[in-house]
């Protein structure tokens, strides 16, 4: 197994770990952190490909993802803050009454 493959496996594992976290964890903040983990898994694989193929496109995409992730957190944290103020809990299950 060469280095690229190992890095890809690491990236996939990070993504899977994050996804598992999103699915099974009940704490909203932990779920947000798991989502960051998934994004970073993707970033890692993009960087690896960009390096291997000698193309800057992957690296540019990584920067784009950074920006998007920062914006997402900037929105998500206030949302979580408002939710917690309302219900005094971080448990995602107690917000299921927001369904359509």
């Amino acid at each position: 197994m060469d280095k690229v493959q190992m890095l890809q496996v690491l990236a996939g594992s990070l993504f899977a770990l994050g996804l598992t976290g999103v699915i099974i964890r009940r704490n909203v903040l932990v779920m947000l952190m798991c989502m960051e983990l998934m994004l970073n898994g993707v970033n890692l694989s993009l960087v690896t490909f960009a390096h291997t193929l000698g193309s800057a496109v992957g690296a540019v995409l990584v920067f784009l993802i950074f920006v998007v992730a920062a914006a997402e957190i900037a929105i998500a944290i206030p949302v979580v803050l408002l939710l917690v103020r309302r219900k005094r809990t971080l448990d995602i299950e107690s917000y299921s009454d927001l369904k359509g």
Binding site: L19, V22, I23, I24, R26, M31, I92, E93, Y95, S96, D97, L98, K99, G100
Partner: protein, 625 residues
């Protein structure tokens, strides 16, 4: 526009004017339009007859309108005026106008006066279409139209459920016959490619026979005729049809519509001359109808019911004449019957009018002195139908009896015997009716007796004209007049010697019938009562009309009802159609219910489903990539 088209359209105009505006125009105007236009139509018909005579009896043909083309075959609304249609048109417009005039007096009190005249004119329109139509298609339009008009007129007082039901019955029973009539038309069209009646007759009379059995076509058309002309087994509607106003009974059920079947068969005689089997069927059915209806008529107590069964019976006479090939004689009896039966029905109407609506002859008696004009005209018509010479019925009935015996197209001694016995019954029940209504001591309530009065002139005048026609109508030699069109059948060898025996016999029959009725019902009718006691069972069967209606109800009505209820309603409509639709709806509802549970608001579940979806699409791409 030609004169024939004008004859047909005049009553239609009356229908439109009275039907649309009648209620606003007042009774005088409605009467003028309703009676005036048929009278003009009669005058035009006379003019046409003179034209026909002037043209050396060459039939007048007139095309009003090209209806449609099917391939190379054109269907036209065309009219055809020859000797036969001339006779029919004169009877329809002539007697029809008289009955319209009579109606002015009879219906004077009715709320729906304009509607009544509108329907009556509509009926005349369709009847004229029927007899003037050149093709079977136009005839069929008229045929259905008179069915419709009779439905409207029989059920005229539709507020009464029983009367509305009588209208429905007439309509439905006629439809059964019409189905066979249509099949006959299809058979003719599929072989000959035309429905033009002169061409159909020519094709059947021609050298090479058409590739269709004349008997089959003949019997199919005859089944249609049994519906309109009230023959066994479809006669049951006619006695019930007495629910309509009495002038309607006179017009439809004596003078015009019921003779449509006779006209049809006489008109299509080209087919029947080549269909001996069909002709035998007609003769047998006609004889049975005549006999059965006459026996029922003996035991009826309702004045109009007696006349109704008498009509069925007389129609049987006409069909016997048709069955033995004496087409002209059948039409002759149509004409004389129109005279005397219209007179009888209108006379009955006058009696009912005088009796304030009473129709039971058991509650009459002694009317002869109180309403003399009605009595004299009724007596003349009774003598005419019974066959007393030299009144009109004698001539036509005598000719039927003669050809029933002597025709070389199916005449026989047995047929003569049945018809002679029926003629005897006719004389008996008609004189019974006359005796119970007009002689003896009055049996009505005192206050009814107090109100008895002669009808107005518009009614009695018509009665007098019709009585005159009944008396002298026999001298119109219609069979002779029609002979160039429809030849009379030949006489079987050796039969000529019996001609005077038949004439003498039919006179004797009328006299015997009269004497028997007089003997039975003289005084307080105690002899009749004793005979009734002695044969109580027979009387019951006859009074209940052989339970034919009950039999039809049991054999046809109930099973049909059961099938409709269980097969069509429960199985077909509710289970199959409603079931399918409700099932589809329930399926959609259930599926929606299940799917809505997925939308739980739980982010974990959503995320998990996203995962499942991603994995599934990855797998799919791997398998198909």
């Amino acid at each position: 526009m030609g004169l024939l088209t004008l004859i047909v359209l005049l009553p239609l105009l009356g229908f439109l004017v009275n039907g649309l505006l009648g209620n606003r125009l007042g009774k005088g105007f409605v009467s003028a339009v309703g009676c005036g236009l048929p009278a003009i139509a009669f005058a035009v018909a006379v003019k046409c007859l003179l034209d026909l005579k002037g043209g050396g009896w060459t039939p007048i043909a007139e095309t009003a309108y090209l209806w449609t083309m099917v391939g190379q075959d054109s269907f036209e609304v065309a009219f055809w005026f020859d000797r036969l249609s001339a006779v029919m048109v004169l009877v329809i417009t002539g007697i029809g106008t008289l009955i319209h005039i009579y109606s002015i007096g009879y219906m004077h009190e009715d709320r729906s006066y304009a509607r009544y005249f509108a329907y009556l004119n509509l009926f005349l329109f369709f009847m004229l279409l029927l007899v003037l139509g050149r093709s079977l298609l136009v005839l069929f339009v008229g045929w259905e139209g008179v069915g419709l008009s009779s439905y409207l007129l029989i059920g005229f007082w539709f507020g009464d459920m029983e009367k509305a039901a009588a209208g429905k019955k007439a309509f439905i029973v006629n439809r059964i016959g019409d189905a066979a009539f249509l099949l006959g038309m299809f058979a003719i069209y599929s072989v000959l490619g035309t429905l033009d009646m002169p061409r159909i007759n020519a094709a059947f009379m021609g050298a090479s026979a058409p590739a269709v059995s004349a008997s089959l076509v003949g019997i199919l058309l005859f089944i249609g005729a049994t519906g309109k002309s009230a023959q066994i087994p479809l006669y049951v509607w006619l006695p019930d049809a007495m629910a309509g106003p009495t002038p309607v009974s006179a017009l439809i059920h004596a003078a015009t519509m019921v003779t449509a079947g006779v006209y049809l068969i006489a008109r299509m005689s080209g087919i029947y001359l080549h269909a001996p089997e069909a002709s035998s069927v007609i003769a047998v059915i006609g004889a049975m109808t005549a006999l059965v209806a006459a026996t029922i008529a003996i035991a009826q107590d309702d004045i109009k019911k007696v006349l109704a069964y008498s009509t069925v019976s007389q129609l049987g006479f006409m069909f016997v004449a048709l069955g033995v090939g004496a087409y002209g004689v059948a039409v002759f009896h149509v004409v004389t019957h129109a005279f005397f039966k219209a007179c009888l029905f209108l006379g009955a109407g006058s009696v009912i009018h005088a009796m304030s609506g009473e129709q039971d002859i058991k509650k009459m008696g002694g009317l002869a002195k109180k309403i003399p004009i009605t009595f004299v005209t009724f007596a003349i018509a009774t003598a005419a139908i019974a066959g007393v010479p030299p009144l009109s019925g004698f001539f036509s009935k005598d000719e039927i009896l003669w050809f029933a015996l002597a025709s070389d197209k199916g005449g026989s001694v047995l047929l003569l015997a049945v018809m002679a016995f029926t003629a005897l019954l006719t004389a008996f029940y008609m004189f019974r009716l006359l005796w119970l209504a007009f002689f003896g001591r009055p049996r009505m309530l005192k206050e009814v007796e107090h109100h008895i009065h002669e009808s107005p002139l518009s009614m009695t005048g018509v009665l007098m004209v019709l009585a005159l026609l009944s008396a002298v109508g026999g001298f119109l030699s219609i069979p002779h007049f029609l002979e160039p069109m429809v030849a009379l059948p030949g006489v079987r060898p050796g039969m000529n010697a019996f001609h005077y025996w038949v004439v003498g016999g039919s006179v004797a029959i009328a006299v015997v019938g009269f004497v028997a009725a007089a003997w039975f019902f003289a005084g307080d009718a105690s002899r009749a009562a004793r005979v009734r006691e002695a044969f109580a069972g027979v009387h019951k069967v006859l009074f209940n009309k052989y339970y034919v209606d009950e039999f039809y109800e049991l054999v046809i009505g109930r099973p049909l009802h059961w099938v409709s209820e269980n097969v069509f309603l429960k199985l077909g409509d509710r289970l199959l159609i409603d079931g399918t639709l409700n099932g589809l709806a329930a399926l959609a509802q259930g599926a929606a219910g299940r799917l809505s549970r997925v939308q739980s608001g739980s982010l974990h579940k959503y995320a998990f489903l996203v995962l499942v979806g991603m994995v599934a699409s990855l797998v799919w791409m791997w398998r198909h990539g």
